[in-house]
């Protein structure tokens, strides 16, 4: 589904929340969301993603900036006039109501007729696979079921946007995997534009059409899961999404072609296009490479020389910890039983290589 090019459903423009701390909790955040898109807001705790979600919901007034929905700036609208569905990490069900009453709550406030309400509630409960649970109380349900009630309650009102605040964090691992696909499935069927807040890169990568990576209140990068994983725009993104080795290196153009040196050893030569635009002679850089991109060969094969520190079998791969001449540590993932894995015995000297296209280079 290519949605990024379709017209914006929601536009966030320089959205800022400053509670008077050292720096704004959310700092001039701007991006577009297309209709029906599933957007992930990903970042470590304290990055401003939850603050952003609360501003979306109207539970927090932005210091400045706009949220434009359907051509109108909604920041001054109270939450009850925004027509949105919010699913909390804590589910936030109404404990004194039955499941059906919970789901019908938004419809009742919208003065939807009894019959229509009943049929829409039934439909929503069917969508989250909870038919026949309408008469139960939230306390009688498991965590996963409560989660689904919360989703049903949010989607039954056909919201402009569905806001999910870490909805999977309180579930156990097995259920979390299940709900991941279920939420995505429900969203695809209903076509509701969704903003999904999470600190879990795995969730973001597997569920979202696009991921907005936030750090320190700022937007680091927004793109498809493949883009943010393979073409990280900043060293933060490269380090936060997936595992990455970061090797400090000095840039030089001795013979015309760019060259990166780490402690006197040349890294695989970078292409000119892969360098940051303003990087000049002698600039301190940081080269990021994924563990699975590192190739291990005999020490005489050429490349970076390194010593194997330890090698751990973790199931699908062997994780090898390596040390370069200057003490810099790297982690490589090798397939068990491969020739590479044979070479990577603790204490052995090896040569390391990777394709220059597997390397991302950032200013240090």
């Amino acid at each position: 589904m290519k949605l990024a090019s379709s017209p914006a459903h929601i536009t966030i423009d320089k959205l800022t929340f400053d509670y008077g701390g050292e720096r704004p909790a959310v700092d001039a955040l701007s991006f577009d969301i297309a209709r029906g898109e599933f957007i992930g807001l990903l970042g470590p705790s304290g990055c401003g993603k939850s603050t952003t979600l609360r501003m979306f919901a109207g539970l927090l007034a932005p210091t400045s900036g706009q949220i434009i929905m359907g051509g109108e700036n909604i920041v001054s609208r109270p939450p009850w006039e925004r027509n949105l569905g919010l699913v909390f990490q804590s589910y936030a069900l109404f404990p004194h109501m039955t499941v059906a009453q919970n789901v019908a709550f938004g419809l009742r406030l919208r003065k939807v007729g009894k019959e229509e309400s009943a049929s829409r509630v039934a439909e929503a409960l069917r969508a989250v696979r909870l038919e026949g649970f309408g008469g139960r109380r939230p306390a009688e349900l498991s965590g996963g079921q409560q989660q689904r009630v919360a989703i049903a309650r949010a989607i039954v009102i056909e919201p402009e946007i569905l806001l999910l605040d870490e909805p999977l964090s309180n579930l156990d691992a097995r259920l979390r995997d299940e709900m991941r696909f279920e939420i995505r499935d429900i969203q695809s069927r209903t076509g509701i534009t969704t903003l999904f807040v999470t600190h879990d890169q795995q969730e973001a990568l597997t569920m979202c059409d696009r991921i907005a990576v936030m750090n320190g209140g700022r937007l680091e990068q927004i793109g498809t899961p493949v883009e943010v994983y393979d073409k990280a725009a900043t060293s933060f993104v490269a380090g936060f999404i997936g595992r990455a080795n970061s090797v400090p290196a000095t840039l030089s153009f001795g013979t015309g072609a760019p060259r990166l040196d780490h402690e006197g050893q040349a890294l695989p030569a970078p292409g000119v296009d892969e360098l940051p635009k303003d990087a000049g002679e002698g600039a301190k850089m940081s080269a990021m490479v994924r563990p699975h991109a590192i190739q291990v060969s005999r020490p005489d094969a050429g490349g970076l020389t390194a010593r194997v520190i330890r090698s751990v079998f973790v199931g699908s791969v062997i994780e090898v910890e390596l040390e370069l001449g200057g003490g810099q540590k790297l982690v490589a993932e090798l397939s068990p039983g491969s020739e590479e894995a044979q070479l990577a015995q603790p204490g052995a000297d090896v040569a390391l290589n990777w394709r220059s296209t597997d390397m991302r280079i950032f200013a240090a």
Binding site: P78, A92, L93, L109, I157
Partner: protein, 263 residues
């Protein structure tokens, strides 16, 4: 060793319970006395003092007054305490922290001082020995408790559920009536019960502002003990304990005390 320690701790707990409950046990026993003066153990048994209490106009009048006052005080404590607690927990306004600590001030002030202050204000206002006067005075004692209990109950609710209701289209008043208040029921019951018991048992403040026209049960009892010592006071004490116990039991059975006080 552990057996010895467990013996020690069991003895200790038993001792504490004895000290706490012994006076009540003695009073309970004396209330069934056939003697015409307070003595322990009684030389004979009878229920006649229970009959005498029920026939005593001063006590029955006092009971009626105390019940009316306690009922009104409990209702007003809730009506005034709930909005105050809500504001202190949910709303942000300048001086909130200060007001939070000032609210409990009446609990740390000596009751004598409060009573004297109340008397000084009530006398010119014509509130001495009137229902409104006693209700107001008792509110000074009960409101801090009510606000405190409701504050705890409200904080324990958190804001997620209310916010969820809000995003679903509920206005603040709808959220409060349909979501917050039903979830607050245990706290409402607990704070009302406490206000009821406190007001019904209140004596120090009452002593300052009762008069011959209007007397509460504890004051009537106190005055009576001053002049006479017969088992009637024991009967009255037992009845008052029974009433408080009944209220506590109602709270316990309906919501559970631990829950009512926010664990």
């Amino acid at each position: 060793m552990t057996r010895f320690l467990s013996f020690i701790s069991r003895t200790y707990v038993t001792l504490v319970f004895c000290i706490v409950f012994m006076p009540m046990a003695i009073i309970l026993v004396i209330s069934f006395s056939a003697d015409s003066y307070l003595s322990f153990p009684p030389s004979g048994w009878s229920l006649k003092w229970y009959g005498t209490v029920l026939g005593n106009t001063s006590f029955m009048q006092g009971f009626r007054n105390s019940a009316i006052i306690a009922g009104v005080v409990a209702a007003l404590s809730l009506a005034l305490g709930l909005p105050a607690a809500y504001a202190l927990v949910r709303l942000d306004f300048p001086g909130r922290a200060l007001i939070r600590s000032l609210v409990i001030a009446p609990l740390v002030l000596p009751a004598m001082m409060l009573g004297l202050g109340i008397l000084m204000v009530f006398t010119p206002a014509g509130l001495v020995a009137t229902y409104p006067g006693l209700v107001l005075a008792h509110l000074v004692m009960t409101l801090p408790f009510s606000i405190r209990i409701l504050q705890t109950a409200l904080s324990n609710l958190g804001t997620d559920v209310d916010e969820a209701a809000m995003t679903l289209g509920a206005r603040p008043l709808q959220v409060f009536m349909q979501i917050t208040l039903p979830r607050l029921t245990p706290g409402v019951i607990a704070s009302s019960a406490i206000a009821l018991i406190l007001s019904f048992d209140e004596i120090v403040l009452s002593l300052f502002i009762v008069g011959p026209r209007l007397q509460t049960l504890p004051v009537a009892l106190y005055r009576y003990v001053d002049e006479r010592t017969d088992p009637m006071v024991a009967v009255l004490a037992v009845l008052m304990i029974a009433l408080s116990l009944a209220i506590v039991l109602v709270v316990e059975r309906s919501v559970g005390f631990a829950k009512a006080f926010g664990r």
